[in-house]
Symmetry: C2
Subunit: 199 residues, 2 copies
């Protein structure tokens, strides 16, 4: 029960990884509320006790599986704002990334579970916001973007609209959608110059 | 079992309404996957059989409860685009509207259930898009908005960002957030004039 975990055994690490991948799969397939530890274990040929030796419960297991989503992010520096935004978006188009489907499986549970929100924030939201801030920072330095834009708000548009498509519309996130977000919303919001004061 | 429903009996209509409100409450409290028909019935002092006489199952009950969210939408016509967008947003700030919490309770299930998506589309998404299109149509006629904007994309920003706050950030949708969406994203995306062609 309360035995200390023995880190570093290769077989154990392989099983850990397999259990986390199975958890990601089930989050994408049925979502958090319908995911059972028994099913996760069964997919790896293990029993529930094996999972409970490693994680205190479902919430901790899922948080760890979400943490694994923090993959290789490209560090875009193409020389133009639009080029950088397109490259930034390429991670969302990667067919090997199940980030979007996994997070969609968490959305309802996240509203009630601060631990899940924290896991998604660290693994998904913060890396996105950091890259967005770096891209726009260079665009400001180049004079492409005036200072004083609401970057936190504008930076939330891309993840917000893609998740909206995945859930409310159940529409896939493809190259066309990404270009519509960039050209229809992000570029104008970032680069516009107001000609006159509005009342 | 297959008895025809008797419409028009006041007591029955009252119970129908109570069951739908209880369903909305539970969607907001625990989400779709953890909502049980037994709990809905118990909150109204009824049994499961009472619910099953009215709805074929959970999916149909929830779709009906979502349909009831289609409340009174203001028809904004203040004379300016910004004024109309602010008035449009007031429905999201109505503390009596549980639309946002109810839909948050559906997001994960919606990804896998076309019936739920259809219910949300008809009760929430389409009324929003219709009002947005009317507002922008008048702004185009007044010369505030150039023709050719991607109105479907820009119109999805408001619901997308508000749901993003409710789930990923678990932040409330208040007046400040609404003004940041309108001034930081919607107004520039709708009204900007590109000075030069971009490569």
């Amino acid at each position: 029960m309360s035995s200390p975990s023995k880190a570093g055994r290769p077989r154990s690490a392989d099983l850990d990884r397999a259990l986390l991948v199975a958890t990601q799969d089930l989050l994408a397939e049925v979502g958090y509320d319908r995911l059972s530890i028994e099913t996760v274990a069964a997919r790896c040929g293990a029993g529930k006790a094996t999972v409970y030796r490693r994680w205190a419960g479902k919430s901790e297991l899922v948080a760890d599986a979400v943490a694994q989503l923090h993959g290789e992010y490209p560090e875009p520096d193409t020389g133009t704002l639009r080029g950088d935004l397109l490259l930034m978006s390429s991670i969302w188009l990667d067919p090997d990334s199940r980030r979007d489907a996994v997070v969609a499986g968490l959305l309802t549970a996240m509203a009630h579970d601060a631990g899940l929100r924290e896991a998604v924030r660290v693994a998904v939201s913060e890396p996105h916001q950091a890259i967005f801030a770096a891209i726009v920072g260079r665009a400001v330095a180049r004079g492409e973007v005036p200072a004083g834009r609401d970057l936190e708000m504008i930076g939330s548009v891309f993840p917000a609209v893609t998740f909206h498509h995945l859930t409310v519309l159940a529409a896939p996130v493809g190259k066309e959608l990404v270009e519509r977000i960039i050209d229809g919303v992000l570029m104008p919001a970032l680069t516009w110059h107001e000609p006159t004061t509005r009342g």
